[in-house]
Point group: C2
Chain length 449, copies 2
């Protein structure tokens, strides 16, 4: 097979690379090689247990590819020859390309812990068949142990807490949940929320062993505790899937990801990489960061797809702005950019501002939730470094005002006087809007220095 543009990977980064390339270069033939024939929407995997009625309700919609005239082949890519511009597939075929995008994603880590291969111990793949098995087990489970207190683990815990008759234990090595995205006081809020939903927290704990005869029946922790378990879900991050690239001699970054420049070009001419498999540099620190979000992958994919035959749009990916949102129970938590934890670690001097108000005005309107915003700005220059939000559902888009501000270099002065839309039924009062008042407080601190 011979194609102008070949994309390896059928996740969000792969699909959007292909769709973008086809829309910018409609005369080119485009093909997506995807290993997983029954892909799912990755971000919604935790919600397959109960929120989504049937596992297949979370199937990744692939109709867009066909409608756009993009071929899709279900096969694994086993080797890549950059000189011959050829990919060998596990079905015996080979594909010759003019331009290649690697969107091979990441592999979930399976910890080297005794018993990790027992039945009932799951890592999270992105394939419907094994996930359906996990969902079936989860719906019947009485004792679930979740290993990992990041987004995946916490979202699984939240989802399961809506199911009656199940004990949920969450085990996390670090002292706080969601420490990568939030500062301590937000982590504590989230922990309290999850505990209020009946989830038992085991923070600062390691798993010593998964125990059972053939099937898991308990989990032994480093503190000697033993948790009953008929289902274990492991969400402890993973590794970039860069084997194909590495075997082909492409440069890898120190974190094992495929090295790319700010146009997502790898070290090999005409080969691009996007998504979890590709190097991401933090927007501010320029250090490698594993921001494995579909939204990040698709931004990179738009860049690669647009510029695959030369730089058509000068905008580069200026760095990864980790922009997260999630919901536990009825409360939403979101974060974009740097936290105080990262600023302190990296030696970035900052001022913070915090503010809270109901997300309706007056606050007695139906549907009102408390909303809280924390913003960080660079000391002196005042550039917006990051923000954290919790509140009602509008927090999910409010954080994108922060993300847009980071991307466009908003300062504390811009945000103190920013013009926003507000409405009694949709937002905080403009007189006390937490986004603005947090900036106002930070500006006062800068002024007092």
């Amino acid at each position: 097979m011979e194609k102008d543009i070949v994309v390896v990977g059928g996740g969000p980064g792969g699909i959007i690379s292909a769709m973008t390339a086809k829309s910018v270069y409609p005369e080119k033939s485009v093909c997506v090689i995807r290993q997983i024939g029954d892909g799912v929407i990755p971000c919604a995997i935790p919600y397959m247990i109960n929120t989504i009625a049937e596992p297949k309700g979370n199937a990744m919609p692939m109709g867009g590819l066909e409608a756009a005239g993009i071929e899709s082949v279900v096969a694994g890519a086993v080797s890549l020859d950059p000189e011959a511009k050829t990919l060998s597939l596990d079905n015996g075929d080979s594909v010759t390309y003019d331009r290649l995008v690697l969107a091979t994603g990441s592999n979930p880590a399976k910890p080297p812990i005794p018993g990790a291969d027992l039945e009932g111990v799951f890592t999270i793949t992105k394939s419907l068949a094994p996930l359906s098995g996990m969902v079936e087990d989860a719906r019947a489970a009485k004792n679930v142990v979740i290993v990992g207190g990041g987004f995946i683990g916490a979202e699984f815990a939240d989802e399961l807490s809506g199911q009656s008759g199940v004990n949920i234990h969450l085990v996390e090595l670090m002292p706080k949940v969601l420490q990568a995205a939030f500062d301590d006081e937000y982590c504590d809020e989230i922990q309290k929320k999850l505990e209020d939903q009946g989830i038992k927290m085991h923070l600062g704990q390691m798993v010593k062993a998964f125990q059972g005869e053939g099937k898991v029946s308990s989990v032994a922790l480093s503190n000697g505790e033993e948790l009953p378990a008929d289902l274990v879900i492991i969400g402890i991050g993973g590794r970039p899937n860069s084997k194909l690239a590495g075997d082909a001699g492409l440069l890898l970054a120190s974190d094992g990801s495929i090295w790319v420049d700010s146009y997502m070009r790898t070290s090999s001419p005409d080969i691009f990489a996007v998504g979890d498999c590709a190097l991401k540099r933090d927007f501010f620190t320029r250090k490698a960061v594993p921001v494995w979000l579909a939204s990040t992958a698709t931004a990179e994919a738009r860049n690669a797809g647009t510029n695959i035959y030369g730089i058509r749009v000068l905008n580069q990916i200026q760095g990864s702005i980790a922009a997260f949102s999630t919901k536990f129970g009825d409360t939403c938590y979101a974060s974009a950019g740097l936290t105080e934890r990262v600023c302190q670690r990296e030696g970035i001097r900052y001022v913070s501002g915090t503010a809270a108000a109901p997300d309706r005005h007056p606050g007695n309107l139906p549907g009102a939730s408390p909303m809280s915003v924390k913003l960080l700005f660079a000391d002196r220059a005042g550039a917006l470094l990051g923000g954290q939000v919790f509140g009602g559902e509008s927090a999910g888009e409010l954080v994108n005002v922060i993300a847009m501000g980071i991307q466009k270099g908003a300062t504390v002065r811009d945000m103190d006087m920013m013009q926003i839309a507000t409405h009694p039924k949709l937002s905080s009062s403009p007189t006390v809007h937490p986004l603005i008042n947090a900036a106002h407080q930070a500006l006062a601190k800068l002024r007092a220095k």
Copy 2:
């Protein structure tokens, strides 16, 4: 009485001018002179009829002033002497100031139509006592005629449509509702939504007379139709309340507002003006625009309050970004910046992009609403000019991503590759996010030129 800083007006612009000035200059004495002793939160006035249980539930919270050490006097300011730096009040007192902020708001227009003084015909004041009377009448009303199809009129119509046994007629002079904030296709969506809620529309119609014996009983339209009415609510805009300033010899703008520069300084030294009474220039066209929003007033108030003793923050109000949001039934509508209508009128060349997707992913998740985004970008330069959104509640903050983008000069290229937070329960999929896809479509149009 002698004060360092005196603010005339107890609405959002006045309160935030005083609060900001006191926070930036804590050593100064600050006093607010407010004519209305029983002020309300202006944006929530329509929701006093049913959504808010008791009218006093919408009282403007004034506790912040006292807590901040700001004196508050209920009195009308009858004259201003800029030379003597003195205000005369209607209680016989006079106040000497060092710096003055005029936040005197606007007066609702009462049309010169026969019968406009009949009992039961209301214009919207910002005072609890008369509003309580209107609310009482509205709760008992069988036939309500609303004059004016802008935000106020449409929001009253929406609010009343939740009340059983009431016929609602909305009369608007222009061919579309909400024409100042939305383009035709959005206006049509809104019209359909309101009609689906049982509201009878009379577009392109004028009121010829309000009829009745002492109390209104019907409304005669220009097309000869006669609408039964036991309550009439008039929301047809108004005039800046610039009498105090004009009588004192301050320069007024052609629209009758108090002329101000980009630091909200009037033509008279040491006197500032903010909010509905102050001149607003459109961010792009630089023409006078009546953006009478509390959020705009508070942004101006932060500017005036911060810079009242010299320019402490170089950021000016670069122009008014009209950023609106509202909710009719369960659907939210929002707009920021310019519409196609304004671009065409002003000769601004633009490209548009539109996109739609459910605001959850997968779209079958509970709570999903269709969401639609339209963006306008300057032809060639690609600067973001404006955006319109409808969807679920997140539209209310999504529009602020657009507002922030306008304020910081985002381009179509920035938005095509922007990095946003997404979550299954909170937002559209990153692969089809309408905000990004609308930009992508506009970029494709620019590229094709």
